[in-house]
Amino acid sequence: MDVRDYLRISSALLVYEFRGLFRRRSELLLSPMLSWAIAMVITPLGLALYGSSIGLEKVVVTGMIIGGTISGATVAAIYFLAETSLEALDRVLQVPLPLWVVLLYRFLVSATGGLVVSAFVWLLALPYLGFSPASLFSVLLASYVASLGIIGVVSLAGYKVKNLQKLSIAASLASATLTYLSPLYFPLDVLPVHIKVAVMLNPPSLAVELVRKAVISATLSTSLVASMLAVNLTWFSAGLLALMRRVDSR
């Protein structure tokens, strides 16, 4: 096999993974997008008319963007679970690429599911919050990196999904856990130090902080970006290694 073989086989595998996400399992993406579209129809408008003097709609819409980021990341993890646990692995294991590359592609493509959902919610919020490059960049980066982190946690946990009913229960539980163990409704700094450290380990926590700061103050905190990358890439790497061991021992 030469370089051209590697490039062609890699691109075929990537296309296959993207088709899985956007065509075969598109309902996984469409469901939260539809939910957020409904949420954004009347609530922000009502809040803008009712509490505009205190900028109530800005607080709530920011919360919605953060919620979209978390639900996008959850969707990414669900897609990953569904594709990796439902006996679909034998096929990609025939692809002549190293095992870690095959699994890495699946991680990277799954995480784009989170990016799509959160970008969609951010677009819906534009009329209320206006455009800022910092908010766009932070939403895209935070959703992708948090998705990688959550997928890492899921792989590390080694949860074996045997049927779709179990998958939907796991998804509800994961969504609630990720949401309420993150600083969705308050800034991280208000927590006592030991709780703050624990909450920071939750993959979406620092992503939530990053998005909140960027959307509200239109600035990008490099220290937050660095911390978020460190936490989530650690989860991601641990998850990838754990999955490789699981595939080895299955």
């Binding site: 096999m1 051209r4 073989d5 062609r8 086989i9 075929a12 595998l13 296959y16 088709r19 075969r24 439902l86 679909a88 034998d90 096929r91 294991l93 025939q94 692809v95 002549p96 690429l97 190293p98 095992l99 080895d248 021992s249 299955r250």
Partner: protein, 344 residues
């Protein structure tokens, strides 16, 4: 690269200390009853599974760790390894695109050899068991690999499909090593293949074809009867008829071809006219999961003018019982395809 396949003291699932070695070219048959570990050997050799203990080498290299040797292996599973909603063309294209350039075959040749032109745009769930097998087998012409692994090459195929498959294996084995798993003794004779007999996860014996031909009668444990029938509903549940034979007949498969049944009732799944369509028919064959009254067996209460397309696979202990069984089957329905072969 053609050094052959070697398994050295391999353990995995049912396999216990499997050891055998092949030459670099020719046909080898892994012969053994269900559950003897044939498929596991093929999956290990294809680099899909990692052995718990021992070593698997293909051309002197580990197929699980060495992805280059994986690219030189064409693995044909018992059924397509994908979800049933994928379209046939997409399934084959992916395999072709992930094949190294030097080994790439011709898509059209593969499709036409196995008569798949008309189903290319269909999802795999609409295919019959035989068509699924043809789809999987067509991978052999997409990746012209020096190592060919085929699981149950003739299962579910009609006589034409079987002939084409045997011809193709003969042709491929001239330039490659072909390792196939089956429980049919007659396939060994057709291919004049060397044989590795597996039983209960261990190697019972390794035989050249000449040696095997002289002793195949001793290895034979019974006959496999595979039939496709248009079953008369008034004959009742076929399982009941087969149950009367007791231990002389082991029922491996009794399946209703639901797509064909719906077509015979005037419902063409997925292509209904008049603005309505059924895109998916989900049949859970585990009756315990279904509410009372919705059991699969209920279809045998169909009107008398409707026949039910079924396929059966039975292992019969002796020749006299085979004849009686075939007679019984013919009295209960119209036999469309019948194959009797000797099995270990």
């Amino acid at each position: 690269m053609n050094e052959g396949v070697a398994l050295k003291d391999v353990y995995k699932y049912v396999l216990r200390s499997i050891t055998f070695e092949t030459e670099g070219k020719g046909v080898y048959v892994l012969l053994g009853p269900n559950g003897s570990g044939k498929t596991t050997v093929l999956r290990l050799t294809a680099g899909i599974l990692k052995p718990e203990r021992g070593r698997v080498l293909v051309g002197g290299r580990d197929p699980y760790r060495d992805h280059e040797v994986k690219g030189a292996i064409a693995y044909v599973a018992d059924t397509p390894l994908t979800d049933a909603f994928e379209k046939c063309a997409s399934y084959l294209s992916f395999y072709l695109q992930t094949t190294p350039r030097s080994l790439r075959g011709d898509f059209q040749e593969a499709v036409s050899y196995f008569g798949l032109e008309s189903v290319l745009k269909e999802p795999i769930l609409k295919l019959s068991a035989g068509q699924r097998k043809r789809l999987e087998l067509s991978k052999l012409l997409l990746r012209k690999a020096p190592y060919v692994l085929i699981d149950e090459p003739t299962a579910n195929l009609d006589s034409d499909g079987r002939r084409r498959t045997v011809d193709l294996v003969r042709r491929l084995s001239k330039g490659s090593l072909t390792l196939l798993a089956t429980h049919e003794i007659d396939l060994v004779n057709e291919l004049e293949a060397d044989v590795v007999v597996l039983r209960n996860g261990t190697v019972e014996g390794v035989y050249s074809y000449e040696r095997f031909a002289g002793m195949s009668d001793k290895l034979q444990r019974g006959y496999l009867v595979a039939a496709k029938l248009s079953w008369k509903p008034q004959a009742g549940d076929p399982r009941r008829l087969l149950g009367q034979y007791g231990s002389e007949v082991e029922v491996r498969k009794v399946e209703v071809d639901y797509a064909a049944l719906l077509r015979s009732l005037g419902i063409d799944v997925g292509s209904l006219e008049g603005g309505s369509s059924i895109s998916v028919v989900w049949v859970d064959t585990d009756a315990s999961q279904l509410p009372i009254g919705a059991r699969v067996g209920a279809v045998f209460n169909a009107p008398p003018d409707v026949t039910i397309p079924i396929s059966v696979e039975l292992v019969v202990s002796d020749r006299a019982t085979v004849l009686k069984l075939v007679e019984d089957l013919m009295s209960k329905g119209e036999v469309e395809d019948l194959r009797v072969s000797r099995v270990v």
